[in-house]
């Protein structure tokens, strides 16, 4: 077990640029800037880095070592899959450190969207035997695919667009007071229902943003963390994986009925809480991967904050609100309204909450949950503590 043997000691980020406006910086430059900021924040030198733990295929470690001047790499690995691994990459870094393979490990995520937007990314996938089974249907982006799950959830449990609206509005309310956020004008219920339907039942405000930017964190041993500049953020558990029943999920659509209208996180959630030795009721603040409002609702169910099918009423009770909610969610404004850097903004916000320096600080936040993107397995989760 990795519990309490490692910690996040450094945090660095570029600004969250509107999609396509980070040029002429290159993607590697954004990554490098976030890494340099993170080592500086930690009170380390870039030469101290000896490992990289990525998700979604990661970046070119050789190029990063060459350009940043990192003398020796001892660990370089990535989780498979896509955005599902954003939280789990931290667990991968911990595994490397606990097993003695590396000492100062970088986890970094970054986007730079030029000609190809994330919103239509599946239309740019190569023609493969697997893709042939969904491409003819005109599912050109994850937003189309996840809307199929949302409709099924509405059918099974009576979830409504009012519930999706509450996720969008509560998240926006957090962005309004965050100077780093991309969308800072308040959103009313009327604003939500006036928005165009992009993939009925999902409207514009059910979709996350598409930003350019990079976020990096530095993970090291709990022992080394004690002597560094920042108060360590303890890593209680970081898990990734998922059940075969979820599998390729949105690219497959043959999940059994009980898991179709879900986030695919149930198996990881169970393992994560057990590994951390805490319960859902112990979590003070949650950063839930919000590529789509409906998937926030389904993750709240899969992580056991409410019963299966009760996610709609749960959010409508005000439970995820920063002020007065029993589980403040996406306190920076989330990917829906603050910034989208493939889930790493959620890691950043959890670290800032536990350091006590968040823009929308949750009082006495001790335990934070971070989730990776509901997508093909592996999906992932992370529990941090101060």
């Amino acid at each position: 077990m990795i519990t309490d043997k490692t910690a996040i000691v450094g945090l660095g980020a570029t600004p969250y640029y509107k999609r396509g406006t980070s040029t002429p910086q290159t993607l590697e430059e954004l990554v490098g800037k976030s890494i340099l900021a993170a080592v500086h924040d930690a009170g380390l030198k870039v030469q101290d880095i000896d490992g990289f733990a990525y998700f979604a295929g990661g970046f070119d470690t050789a190029l990063l070592a060459e350009t940043l001047g990192i003398p020796e790499i001892r660990f370089s690995a990535t989780l498979t899959g896509t955005g599902g691994g954003s939280a789990g990459a931290i667990g991968l870094a911990s595994a490397a450190i606990v097993s003695g393979q590396a000492e100062v490990v970088v986890c970094v995520g970054a986007n730079q969207q030029g000609a190809q937007r994330f919103g239509s990314i599946t239309s740019a996938y190569p023609a493969t035997p697997e893709n042939a089974f969904f491409s003819a249907a005109g599912l050109v982006g994850p937003g189309h695919m996840f809307a199929l799950l949302a409709r099924r959830h509405m059918h099974l449990y009576g979830t409504t667009r009012e519930d999706f609206a509450e996720v969008a509005m509560s998240t926006r309310a957090n962005a309004v007071t965050n100077p780093n956020a991309t969308l800072r004008q308040p959103m009313s219920r009327e604003d939500y229902f006036k928005a165009p339907m992009l993939a009925d039942p999902h409207c514009l405000y059910d979709f996350c943003l598409e930003n350019d930017g990079a976020v990096a964190v530095i993970v090291t041993s709990a022992q080394r963390a004690r002597d560094l500049r920042q108060t360590p953020v303890r890593i209680l558990a970081g898990c990734h994986g998922g059940s075969r029943d979820w599998g390729r999920s949105i690219y497959w659509m043959n999940m059994p009925d009980e898991s179709f209208a879900s986030s695919g996180h149930a198996a990881v959630a169970k393992r994560l809480f057990a590994a951390a030795g805490v319960d859902p009721k112990d979590i003070d603040v949650a950063q839930i991967y919000d590529h789509f409002t409906s998937q926030v609702i389904m993750q709240l169910e899969d992580y056991g904050f409410c019963e299966k099918g009760e996610g709609g009423p749960f959010v409508r009770s005000g439970a995820i609100r920063l002020h007065g909610g029993r589980l403040p969610v996406n306190t920076d404004g989330g990917q829906l309204s603050c910034g989208y850097v493939w889930g790493m903004t959620h890691v950043r916000e959890a670290v800032e909450q536990l350091r006590g320096v968040a823009v929308n600080q949750v009082e006495d936040a001790r335990l934070a949950l971070v989730t990776g993107g509901p997508s093909i397995i592996p999906v992932s989760g992370l529990i941090l503590a101060n």
Binding site: R117, G119, S120, S123, P126, A127, T128, P129, E130, N131, A132, F133, F134, S135, A136, A137, G138, L139, V140, G141, H144, A147, L148, L149, R151, R152, H155, P196, M197, L198, A199, D200, P201, H202, R244, M253, N254, F260
Partner: protein
């Protein structure tokens, strides 16, 4: 009211392998088939090299009636790619195939009033020939 059209055909480029080719060859002949494990009878979609239940590689190709039921659907009314506008609105859907042992196909419901769509709606396969030897199955409301 609006009638569901078909998505832009250029989004689809057929690629096959030894396991999926019999399915697409059948589709080109306007026949809907499903891969069924010879050993244990489990059906799978798409066709893959192993049965996930018993790991056998033996397949029987079972011909289906073409009837199905809408398991879930969405309505695409906004273009997110150039050239999409004339194809709007269209309805991507997940269809449970009758006699398919529970397998579902990702397809479209076409020629239906959008307001009439519902989960559980009975549908029947219709065939769109896209190129020489290449077709795709879509589904239209079925009155029985």
């Amino acid at each position: 009211m609006a009638i569901a059209k078909r998505p832009p055909p250029e989004l689809f480029k057929l690629a096959t392998n030894a396991w999926t080719k019999p399915y697409w060859d059948a589709v080109a002949r306007h026949s809907l088939v499903v891969a069924q494990c010879t050993g244990c009878g489990t059906c799978r979609m798409p066709p893959t090299p192993f049965c996930p239940t018993c790991q056998s590689q033996q397949i029987d190709w079972r011909t289906l009636s073409g009837l199905g039921e809408i398991y879930s659907y969405i309505i695409v009314e906004r273009a997110i790619l150039p050239g999409m506008t004339e194809h709007l609105p269209y309805v991507p859907a997940v269809i449970t195939l009758e006699g398919g042992g529970g397998v579902r196909l990702i397809s479209n419901v076409v020629d239906v009033e959008l307001a009439d769509l519902f989960i559980g709606m009975k549908v029947m396969v219709v065939w769109d020939d896209l190129a020489e030897g290449v077709a795709v199955p879509r589904f239209a409301p079925w009155a029985g």
